[in-house]
């Protein structure tokens, strides 16, 4: 008997149908992947199951019986646990409280919070993920996005007295590193052998093939196909998702690098990184690799003028490094920050407003009057390049799917002519097809002489796109390696090398 059936679910926002006719059946003890392009309706579907979004049509059966899920409590009572795509932590409170927040707090004398017990439970939950480096008492806003995601995952694992039968994870690995993902997969295997089911959303083909028993594909809010992963392959799944053939490969560099340098760093130190030395040639793609929080983002911040340079010299396009992001953009340096919702987007503002923001200087006439036509032209042009899925350019960004929000941040960066492009996890949450488009665009830009600095927790991406990889360890540069004869395992061992 199936654990859960959702059939013919539909949900529209105004005239847009986020879900048109979506169905899935989940068996007890299976890991079931849900796949689809950005905006296919996966997250909306999950929110329906979680009681956050009310569907217009369709029914939900739990163990064969009709179930109504009107609010998150109903879903919790049925034994469903959720990790949503958008991190929803309460930033002001501790890690332990964020873990406990769904259920009742342990108490003493029936009234006072038993902090010791609360922290113990949190520590136990984190330990299941193999984590002993996060203190449950720290304020969660002080953790990196990856660590916050781990806390969120631990929260669903924490023992609440009400046994869970289904874990739903919406792109949990998008902000995790390789080893963190591996640990999550181990936990998923444990959950599975304990008889629980997992509904798993991801754009990473390899991990889906590795950990999932079956896969269901949605396209444009409709059910397309459910298959056993053993009976299908990546190409077929991509065809189900996109309706076309997309290559799941990295486009090759087709030109020789010039000798001119875009960027030259000599022994650069900031408050958070030390000993950064590299030369970046025109058209070159330099990766920044390392374990989680080894200083990858901090390198970007130094190049962007966000951190003062305490020692060493940093020159970009022959000039001194920018003092702040404003001068950086003016000097043709563009930046895709790591966390799209916090650092990238004005969520309540339109796609257009978000896209033109760093380019306003080029889009104005006398007295700073904005030229609306050029604004529209620029936005349309870059939105087409990244195949943005949206109703109109006036749509506010919070209405976009996660991957499409990421595309807006990327599209913005390539709006103007560039000398240096800084990409901090640029394809996080982006679907296979759009990833390929982004890679192609990066190659085109570098063919025109733009230097690129790229970080990614996806090692194949790092190896596929970069000419060389600069390795960071605890905020210090250890070495720069050529990617030519390196595979993911080889690269990973360099991250650990002392």
């Amino acid at each position: 008997m199936t654990l859960l059936d959702l059939t013919h679910i539909a949900k529209s926002y105004g005239r847009t149908a986020a879900l048109a006719d979506a169905s899935i059946d989940i068996l007890p003890g299976e890991v079931h992947a849900l796949m689809g392009e950005n905006g296919a309706g996966k997250s909306t579907f999950i929110k329906v199951l979680a009681g956050i979004v009310k569907s217009d049509r369709g029914e939900i059966r739990f163990q064969g019986k009709l179930a109504t899920i009107d609010n998150p409590q109903d879903a919790f009572d049925l034994g469903f646990r959720f990790i949503h795509q958008e991190l929803n932590v309460v930033p002001q409170i501790s890690v332990a409280e964020n873990i406990a927040i769904g259920g009742p707090y342990p108490t003493r004398f029936g009234a006072m919070v038993n902090w010791r017990e609360l922290n113990r439970r949190a520590r136990a939950a984190l330990a299941r993920l193999g984590i002993d480096t996060i203190d449950p008492r720290t304020k969660i806003s002080r953790l990196s996005a990856g660590d916050q995601m781990l806390v969120k995952i631990a929260g669903t694992l924490s023992d609440t007295g009400n046994p869970a039968c289904l874990f739903v994870m919406d792109e949990p690995t998008a902000s995790l590193t390789g080893e963190e993902s591996e640990r999550l997969f181990k936990v998923i295997a444990e959950l599975k052998s304990a008889g629980a089911s997992v509904l798993y959303v991801s754009h990473r083909m390899d991990e889906v093939m590795q950990i999932c028993d079956r896969v269901t594909v949605f396209r444009d809010g409709r059910f397309v196909e459910t298959k056993r992963t053993n009976d299908t392959d990546k190409d077929e799944i991509i065809r189900f998702m996109t309706g076309r053939d997309v290559k799941d490969v990295y486009p090759e560099r087709t030109f020789d690098l010039e000798e001119h340098l875009v960027c030259r760093a000599q022994d650069v130190s900031t408050r958070r990184i030390r000993g950064l030395s590299f030369n970046l040639r025109k058209g070159e793609v330099l990766g920044i690799g390392g374990l989680s929080n080894a200083g990858q983002s901090e390198v970007m911040q130094a190049l962007m003028g966000l951190d003062r340079i305490l020692e060493g010299t940093l020159k970009i396009s022959g000039k001194a490094a920018p003092q702040n992001p404003a001068t950086a953009w003016e000097g043709g340096i563009a930046y895709v920050p790591r966390e799209r919702r916090r650092e990238g987007l004005m969520l309540t503002r339109s796609i257009l407003q978000n896209t033109v923001l760093p380019h306003l200087r080029h889009l104005s006439r006398l007295l700073g009057v904005v030229n609306r036509r050029s604004e529209r032209d620029m936005t349309q042009r870059v939105a087409d390049i990244v195949r943005l899925k949206a109703d109109s350019l006036k749509q506010p960004c919070y209405q976009l799917s996660g991957g499409n929000q990421q595309k807006v941040v990327f599209a913005r960066a390539v709006g103007a002519s560039l000398n240096l492009l800084l990409l901090d996890e640029p394809t996080r949450g982006v679907d296979v097809g759009a990833k390929f488009d982004i890679y192609t665009l990066v190659r085109e830009l570098s063919a025109r002489g733009c230097g690129v600095v790229l970080t990614s927790s996806d090692l194949p991406e790092l190896l596929g796109m970069c000419d060389r990889i600069l390795i960071m360890q605890d905020g210090r540069q250890t070495e720069i390696v050529e990617t030519r004869d390196l595979d993911p395992h080889g690269l990973l061992s360099r991250f650990y090398a002392a």
Partner: protein, 320 residues
Amino acid sequence: MGLILRRYGTLLGFLAIIVFFWSQLPETFLTARNLINISQQISMLAVVAFTMTIVMVMNDFDLSVGSTASLAGVVAAFLFSLGYPVWAGISVALLVGLLGGLFNGILVSFFGILPFVATLGTLTMFSGTAFLISGGKTIFGRDIPGTFSGFARSGVPLDGIGLAGVTMPFLSIMAVIVLFLVWFALEQTTFGRRLYAIGGNMEAAKLAGIRVRTLRMSAFALTGLGAATAGLMYASRVASANPTQGSGLMLDAIAAVFLGMTMSEEGEPRVLATLVGVLILGILDNGLTQLSVDSYIREILVGAIVVSAVAFSSISKQKR
């Protein structure tokens, strides 16, 4: 239907208020004379509210506008009483407003003090300074030059457009000019775009190359300048200056911006919407006075209307 109510609820309420007073006061309410009278009554509040919109676009506040207005009036009157010419008094008063605003901006953007706290502090500072300069007394009578107080009493005659005997007061024209300037800056220029970006997500705006500190500072300076302008208009209108005469402006200005915010889809301030907010407050005041409603009851009513408009719009927003 729900969407229309959410979008236009405040506007419909505004129309309802007009229709109500019209039916209660058929003779006097919708006459050219009364409307022009209203426009003059609200002109000072309007100037403060329009320039308050500039900082509220960035999710900031300025609580010190009322005391800035008082201070500007007192400074000008004090200089007049010392025999300085009108232009000098006005320029110094405006400069004081600009510098006061700049000071707010520095506290907020360079020292990172919450606008609420920073401008609450400067509110008392400016107010204290106004008391100090004026000695706590009202400056009036012969100290105020006729050219200064005459400004508020005169205007452009509207005989040409068939309204014999009616003049459009200079104060109302001032408010329209300020409205146009603020509208132009906020809606048409990159300056406005950047301020809205700061309100949308300050961190993201900074990383996208927006000079957040400088912009916040200049926005506060403009709000201070607007408050000083309103203070001078007020002093001209009553031909006197005292250290508390602007104090009613701050709450009304913020209320007007909030009323306006209920009209936009994402709840951001727009200066034309602020105008509607100002008109609602002004018309209520005018109509209720004509109906000789007790002024305490008037305050209760105005407060209730602001709260219910904002509550209504936030409830309908939650329901999506």
